[in-house]
Each structure stands twice: as C-alpha cells, then as structure tokens.
Symmetry: D3
Subunit: 246 residues, 6 copies
C-alpha cells in the first residue's frame, strides 16, 4: 500500500495525501462477542463497527426458494460527528440513511451466490462510532469482512458446503477537490467537493457507480479519471480485506 | 427524433424499439391552473404531472443570502402501478421515494443560478399518475419544464431580471437488457434488467451518473456504451423541452 | 342539462350561474391503463382521477361470508389547491381527509348488492388533481363510474353473474350563498358560505344528508329548499353517469 | 319530560321506551376541581365527563382579531365499551374520533359570539367513561354546559362583560329502527339501525343535520319524521341544560 | 385509620396532616358496567378509575404454558391536572407514562399465582380523572381491587378454582418534605420534595422500593424512616382493599 | 479491588465470582475525537461508549436562570445483545429505554452544582456496543467520567471557574441470585434473578435506590444486605472513576 500522510510538499489535499492515496486502513476482527462475524474498520478517523447476524429465516419473497438473502442497516452514534445529531429509528430514518443502507445491501448482495448460502439471511449492521467522511464506503468494505467471517463460521459448522462469496466487495469515494480528481475523500474534502461519488468494485467488475454534482457539473473526461482512481483504490482495499479474513 | 415502436423485426426489445430509441415523448404544458408552472409529461405509458410552486421564502440555511433554492417531491397515485400501492406521506416516505426525490432536487438544482433566481424557493412536485418504468427520469425532464415556465412567469413579472436557467436538464435510464445496452427502459425491460441506471445531463455536461447492479455486475466497456446511449437520448429530450417552453 | 356560465345579468353567483345550475360535467373513462375501471371527472375546474381496483380478497369481517366489500381512499396532489399543501399518508391523514373518504366509501356501498358482487373487494381511489370546490361530491359521482366500469369487466369475464349495482350514486353540494340557496358551490362560493352541505342520492332515495353551519344557523324552511335543489342536481348527474358507462 | 322506560307494552324498542322518548338525562356539574367548567352527563348508561379549559391565547388565525375561539377533543377510556379498545393519541386519532370532535367543536362554536368572548380560547374535553350509544350527542349537550359554566366564571371575574352564549346547543340522535323512526338510540338500537344520524339544535334553529345510511337508503318523508323527533328531543335537553347552569 | 386533615397546630404539612397520616381513602366498586371488575378510588383529591378486563388469550411468551398474565395501562384525562395536558396514545406514550404502567403491571403481577389463574390475561386500566399527587400508587391500590373483583367473578363462574390472589398489593408514596419524612405526598408536597419514592407492599413482604433524589441526596438513616412510614401506610390501605372486596 | 474470576470453589455464581465481587472494570478515556469528554467503559463483557457534548444553550425551563443542565440518552447497537434487536429512535423509544435514560440523567444531575456550571447543557450519550448485564449502571459510572472530562476542558478554557462536580456518581446492580444477595449481576445472573435493583451512590450519600421483584418478593432484612453490598461496590467504582479522570 502507498503510504498515507506522506507529507509530499506539492500536494493540495488538507491531509497531505497524494491524489491517489487511501487513508490508513485497519480492520480489527472479532470486535463483538455475540455476532456471527464482526469487525471494527478504521479508514483514518472514520471508524465503523460492522456485525453480521445469521438467522435461519428469509424474507417472504425468498421463502421456499432454497436461496438466502443479505440485507444491511446503517446508523451513526449521536456524537460520531462534530456536532451532536439526533438518534433515528428504523421506522423514521432520514432519506440519507435509507439511501446509504440500500446501497450497502445492494452492493454486498452482488457478491453472493444465494443458492450456495442456502435459505438463511445475513444482516449486516454498520454503526459509525466516529465519522470523518466516507462512512458508507467503509461500511461496505468492513461489512464484507463481517459477512465473510460469518460465512466461514457457517462453513466450519458444515451448514454451508460451497463458499457463496467470491472476490471481496470493496468501496471507495472519489471526487473533484479544488478541481482535481482525488481518492478517498475525508470530511474536510467532502464538504468542499462540488462533485463526488462512490464506486463499488469486486475483482475486475463494477457493482455500483454513483457520481453526483451538487451545484456543479462534470465532464466525461473527469468521469474516466475518477473511475481509474477508484479501481486502483478498491484493489488496495481488497488486499486488506483478504488479509483480515485469511 | 427516431421513430419509436418501429416494428423492426430483428429487435429483441419487448416494445419493438431499437436499442437506442426513446419512447414517444409528449409534454403538455399548463396542465394545472393553480401552479406557477406545470406540465403533464408522457414518456410512452409513463405519465407524470409536474408542477412548480414559487414561494417568497427559503429554507433556514439560505436566509439572508440573496440566493434562492429548488427542492422536489415525488409521489405516485396508488393505482399508478399494475397492482395498487399504499399511499405514503411526507413524514413516512419509503427509502425509494426519498432517494428519488433527493435525486430530482439535486439534478434540477445543478442547472440553476441561485443568485439570479433571488431569495425565493421553487418546489417541484412530480406525481406519477401512470407508471411504466423511468418515472424518476420523466420527473426530472418534466420538472425542468415546469420550473422553466415558472421562471418565465417571474421574469415577465419583472421579479427576476436574468434567466437563472441554462441548458435543459434532461434525464434518461439505460441498462443491460438481455445482455445488451438499451436506452429508456420500460417496465417490462426494467423488471428483467440486472444492471440499470440513470443519467442526468445538461448540454455537454454530466450532472448525475448512477449505475447499479442487483445480483449482477458490469464492465467498464459496458459502462462506456451506456453513457453513449444516454448522452444521445438526453440530447433528444432537450429538444422536446425547448419546444415545450419556447 | 341547463347551460352553465350563462352570463344571465341578474345572478349573484361569482360564476354567473343561476342558483340551480350545475357546473359543466365531463367524464373521461379509461383514463388509467392499469385500473379495472377508471375515469377523470371534471366538474368545472374541479378535476378528480377515480380508479377502481378489484382484489380477490375481503377484509376480515367479511371473510367466508360470500359477500364483497367496497372501500374508498381520497387524496389531493400538493398543488391541487391555490397554495401548496403538504402530502399526507394513509397512516397520518388529517381529520378532513378521513371524514371525506369515510363518506365516499359509505355512499358507494349503499348502492351495492354485496352478495351479487361475491367475495371480492373494490377499492375506489379518488385523487384530486385540481380543486375548485365540491371535490368529495365529484369523487362520489366519478367513483361510481369507475366502480361500474370495473363491475362491467367482472361481468364480461363471467366472474359476476348479476349486476350488483342499481341506480347511479350521485352527489352534489348545496349551501346558502349570500343568504340564498345555491347548487354545486365552487371554491369562491364555498369559502364564503356559512351553511353548506352534501347530498348523496340514488334514484328516488337518499343515502346521505349533511348540512353544517360554521358560525351560523339555518331554518327548516331553508333545509327543504336545499334538498329540492340537490335532488334535481343529482338527477342531472345520474344522466351523465349513465352516458359514461353505457 | 316524558318518562323513559315506561314499560308500555306495544313498543318495539329494546329499552321499552316509546319512539319519541329520551333516556333519563342527569347532569352533575363541578365534577372536576381543576377545570374552569365541568360536568358529568349521563344519558342512560352513556356517561361523559365534559371539562372546559379557558386559556388566554388563541390559534394563529385568530391572533390580534379581538375574537375568541372554541375547540373540542373527544376520547374514550379503553373500557368505556363492551370489549376493550386501544388507547389513541391526539397525533394518531382514528377517523371516527376526528370526525366526532370536529362535529363537537363546530356545533359549540355556532352558539358563541366570539367578539363578546374576547381573545381567549375555550377547549372542551369530552371523555366517555361508559358508552351505550349517542356519545357524540351527549358530548355536545354536556360540553355546552361545561362551556356555559366557564363563561359564567369569566363573567363573575369581570373578564367578559356580555354573555357570548345564547340558547343552549343540544344534540340528539335519531334513526330508523325496525323500520320506524325513533329518538335517542342506545347501543342495542344503534348497532341494528341501517339509517341514523345526529341533529344539533339551538332554539328554533338548526346547526347540523347528519343522516347516513349504511347499506340502506331513506326517503324524504322519513327524513321529515326524523327531524320532527329531533327538534322535540333537543327542546327537552335544552331544559335540562338550563336547569344545570341556572 | 388515623384521621386525615386533623388541623393539628404543630404540623408543617400544607394539608395539616401529621407526617404519618394517609389522605382519606374511598373505594367505590362497580363503577363501570362493562368491565369484569372496576372501582373509582379516591385518595384525597386524587381520583382514579380502575377497570379489569379479562380476555381468554395470553401474550405469545405465555401461550400453551397453562399460565395467565396481568398487564396494566395508565392514562390521564387532559384536564386531570391543573393545566391542561395533551392526550397521548399507546403508540406514543411519554417516558413517564410508560415507566408508571410498567411499575403498575410489575407490582400487580407479584401478587398473582399464574397457574391458578389459568391461561387468560387480565388488563388493568388506570385512568386518572383528577390528580393531586400519588396517582401511580392509587392506581396500584385500586388496580388490585379491580383485579380481585374480576377474579371473584371468574371463580363464581367456575372458570378459576383456586384463588390466584393472596394479600392485597398496596402502594404509597413517601418523601422528604421540608427535610422531614412524610407519608402519602399530595401535589403541594410532591412538587417541593427533593427526595421521594414509592413503596409497594403485600403483607409482610416488599415488592418494589423506589427512592429518587432530584438535585439532592439522602442518607441510609432517612431511608429507614421512610420505609417504616410506608409499611404502616400500606397496612392501612390493605384494610380498605379488603373491605371493598369483602 | 478484590480479584474477579477467582475460581474459588465454593461460590455458586456462574462467573465464579464471590457474592461481593465486581467484574473487572476498565475505563478508556478519549475514545471519541469529536466529543468534549468521552470514554469506553468495560464492566466485564459489558462495553459502553459514553460521550459528553457541551452546548451553550439550555432547555426552556432553565433559560436566563444562570444555571446549567445535564441530560442523558441511552442506546444499544442492534447486535449488542445475543440476538439482534431492532433499532429505535428518540421519537419511538421503548419504555425500558426511556426509563433507563431518565435514571441516568437524574443520577448524574444529582452530583452537579448548576450555578457553578453556568448556563450550558451537557448531554451524555451512553451507547452499549456489547451487553452482558448492568448496562444502565455502567452508563452512569462511565457517563460521570465523560462529564468530568468535559468539565475539566471547560475549566481549562476558563469558561467554568469552580468545579461543579463533587464525589463521583457510581452505580451498581444487586439482586437475589439463587436466594443469595450478590453484587454486579451479569446477564446469566440477571436473567435468573427474581429480585434485582440498582443503586446510585455519591460519597456517603444515596441518590437512587430501586429494588424490584418480578414474580417474587423480598424482606426488609434482604433489602439491608443488598444495600450493604451496593455501598461497598460503589466505593470501588469511585476509585476507578477518580483514577480515570486524575
């Protein structure tokens, strides 16, 4: 991995990182004694607890199909952010929260063979205990680790025969900061970027591409540069995910 | 515009359209007597009423800024779809609804000069009265028309001096149907596509790119083909928007 | 039908109508491709989309009774009115909305033979896309048309043998405007009337009589005049309903 | 007052009352030590606590008008009825509850001179502690008594100079029971009646007429008979209200 | 029972009671004709309607256990208090309300043999119609009476063979008022006391001890004095409960 | 501190602890970079993140009083427990959650001089990331540490002159397990105990005593034994709190 915080003099990023540098990634597995799989993922100062819960039931639309399901929920502790936020419930989540957890669930499902998993559900809870930008991407990356650990437990117990997971599912943000494409925005960058997005990658394939402008626009050329950054960043993250679950 | 529903024998699309053909677009302006701007947009069998409401107040974060704001809400009549859906309220919208209206608002805002608009808010309501796929894109395309008409009214009244709107903001869906990139998916295609997304374009610039896989993945090559289709489709839509507001 | 908007010089109604004149009634059937029956009813500038949804299930209290059920929901698009209103959901409807849809359901049920309908439910959705007074009455009148069309479809399919519907169920408002009894109040009249009400009629029979004073009172003699107006107005509406479903 | 429960042999009412007989009416004033006016009204086995709360503030639409306002809320204790009901809150009242309290408020307001009352609000809470039919009518009749007592207190304190209340506002139900018009339905009758309604009367004037058929219809002749019964019943109630507030 | 309101000159309590004096207790049984057991309990100016509802069903965690269950709900009429409060629903109860009804249910359950009761549920509704301090204690004391009456009815009907209830469950408040331990605080005392609590007693045994300081603290010696007062007070209440259910 | 997990052969506690032994206590301060004070407290396998947020505003009832306020919120991550729980929001917290956070707030406030704090609010968020019994007590003990750190920061900044905090506020649970009084119940004990409670202590003074029986009772003698255990346990906790904030 390229070193973060290199102190290279000519960079314009607040953290001193080069445009193509990820923040330091640490994945501490087995963080929760109750969950079937769990980790605490740290992407710089963004810290997320990811737990995987295995239940021997599936949603109505999957019953008697022989296939499993994966779903995700996302939350933030009230003081995960610089100023305190209100708590929100499953029944009254903000649009932002729902959009994020739909993305996490969709991304993780793309990497699962539901026949191999069998008729059971894995729920991934991603709870941000400290936020510094990129929480949804850290949730996907860490969520895959928690899911992988839970699947390993199911396989050790003989409940699942064939590994339903393939290449790690990794996610990273990109954006135009001060007009320049940069990888893995922290909060200081994210709050200034007029264009930013999230990329979810598994091996050589794309799962999700989201690029949004708020009060701005971007060109196809910039889109291409951002995708190049994201693919390289996700490849690094995949290495960290494989090490954590080896 | 290329003819929709051509009956070309070798196409594989359920509607008989070629991969790069939009559905028939009709924009009926002045559909609502109360709204400052309004239209009924029909993209094939997808019909959306778009109204623009102008209010001489802005949200708290814009007060005393001299700048305006644009926001959007999206809804569906219960029987807009093939089977009846429950009504939902602003205070209890589903994640899907909130995600859609956040997209509509963000897209329309990207094309507005808020200083030129002045300290007032335009609310775009997009209500789907009949759905056949692509309702969020039709809402953006029609919503821009309603907004443009409301702005013309403000300019005629001398309340706004410089047109705050530039090129039309147009949106279209794309996806992989039966493995092939196609433009402007209808419901029959959308419900089968493992990969689909939405593109929002204004002139030569991109505002939003969203490409999602559900239980599938896609390559960078396919991504490029889909963006080519989308740019051509949005250019056609922009012509229809300009005609409707001429 | 008596001509609306006659321009008669001695009338005191804002629209120029005589006290006993309905607004122009237009009923456009087949407005929605998904619904089993549908129409767009226009009473002057009041426009309501009515759809009938047939479902092969009934509420718990009707199960295994061999009888059907009819229920109604009522909504308004946010900009149906002169100033924009908040969206409301089934779970959080205002008292006014609930009162209206209870009236619509009760009125339409009075005209149905539930044994002849068989154990199925028809849900009538009445969505006001433009309001100018009298929306609940237009909903009942248009709702009956949508229900009739759905029943005709069930009969054509052989699912229902005997027509469960009799005379059309028609509704009209009446009130004291400038002290004088008038028929079919539009918004300009309704907002000034201290006494107004709604009458639901089927053939020679009454289904519902509601006469309310807000900050005012009325005499039995006035009550009699209002009922005379309403019976004549509903007879006209019944003709329009029969033509639309012939 | 005609005697209730006469035991006359030829009556068909479950209670043995003649068709034109009210139930025994008892009004116990001063039931609550905190409220500015209060009573416990008993109409047979229907018991309602009515309290009037005076507040020196008015709703926004009345501010700086020099005029007052009257509003009402209605509730039932969970075991007021034969089988236990769920508790409901102001923010989640059923349609029935909202319809009832809108009726109570509207009826009581019709008998108030808001200029004479001055810029203050009276809230009437009607809480049914035991129900046997006719709870909304008992609430109006008892609510007027609570309001009258509160107004007397305001006048004694010199805060109101001219009595803002005129004739008592009284309410009674009527309906067709076993095909015959009867006055003041109890639960046994109400649950069987296909046609019933509520009449609100003040002196020689009508305030509200509501006649509804559920799965039935009625003629104009029957309507006239029901109004005759109601006017006589309300005259009796007005005597009881005057005695209670003398 | 010691006389309340003795007018003894050297007491410092607002009511003139001695530190160890209860308020006058009156229990009027059979207050509600629908409930299986009911009473109106008055502890001075605190008045609570308690009803017991018997249902031949139990919550899921008790099904097929042969055992019954007891649960409680607590409410206040809006004008039970000196200034009017908002109504609250089961689905949106304040923390205070939920805490109170959890206490009532837990306390009453402690005195019940669920095997003897058999697989049925008793719901105790405690509705405060006038409040002057100590409403939760009055609810427990009166709730036990309503429960006892309902059980007697079940035993008379032969549905329950062995009495599932033992000694009465009685509750009383205590606190430090003007630095001195006093029994059965009324509102004037309660609003001034920095330390107060509730004691639930059955025979010689304790069921619940709750002592809280708000902005204050207390010593173990004071705790002992308060428990002495509470035990004596509950013994008096038990006598009143036994008389009411004899 | 007495050693936990001593393996003493004659103990009957599942953990092997003696009846008067606390679990191992660890307090890691500075766990959150955004909060004004924070810690992660571990009582055995019960882990709680406590953060203190300082805001320069107070609730309405404290405005312009020159006094501050302390409030608390409590939450659990969905997988803090052995089986996954639903997320809950501030607006829809369960009775248990509200009861807990009212206890935490009340307990912490008892140890604060609000004049010395000045007109500002400290909000203590206690979020359980892993639960094994005694979460509310750990929240109080850890919450005091977070509050103390935040106050030290205010004093260093010169915003507060006199330390508004005195002796640490410590809390511990006690209960009857297998008939014997034990200190600091873990989940295995708590789920079996018919009688248990929480004690909040500050120096030689009591702040809160809560002892509840569920389907059981207890004697005054047992109450005394439990209070002895609790006082000794809280004294040990206070030492840990002082070390963490030294």
């Amino acid at each position: 991995m390229r070193k973060p915080d290199t102190g290279k003099d000519d960079t314009m990023r607040p953290s001193g990182r080069t445009p193509d540098a990820l923040r330091a990634v640490e994945i501490e597995t087995g963080f929760n004694r109750h969950a079937e799989g769990s980790c605490l993922i740290r992407m710089g100062a963004t810290h997320v607890i990811c737990t995987a819960t295995v239940e021997e039931r599936v949603p109505p639309f999957k019953r008697n199909s022989g296939q499993g399901w994966v779903t995700a929920e996302y939350g933030m502790l009230p003081r995960a952010t610089n100023s305190r936020m209100r708590r929100e419930a499953k029944s009254a989540q903000s649009g932002r929260t729902q959009e994020i957890q739909r993305l996490i669930g969709r991304s993780l499902r793309a990497g699962v063979d539901f026949h191999a998993l069998g008729e059971r559900q894995i729920t991934i809870d991603c709870d941000v205990i400290q936020a510094d930008g990129g929480t949804r991407c850290a949730s996907i990356t860490g969520g895959w680790v928690a899911m992988k650990l839970a699947v390993q437990k199911l396989m050790s117990a003989g409940l699942v025969k064939t590994d339903p997971l393939g290449d790690p599912v990794s996610a990273v943000s990109c954006g135009l900061y001060a007009g320049q494409p940069v990888l893995d925005l922290d909060y200081a960058e994210d709050s200034e970027a007029g264009v930013d997005g999230n990329f979810v990658v598994s091996g050589a394939k794309l799962i999700e591409v989201q690029m949004s402008a708020e009060g701005s626009t971007f060109s196809r050329g910039q889109m291409t540069q951002l995708m190049d950054l994201a693919e390289a960043g996700c490849a690094e993250l995949a290495q960290a995910q494989l090490r954590a679950t080896a």
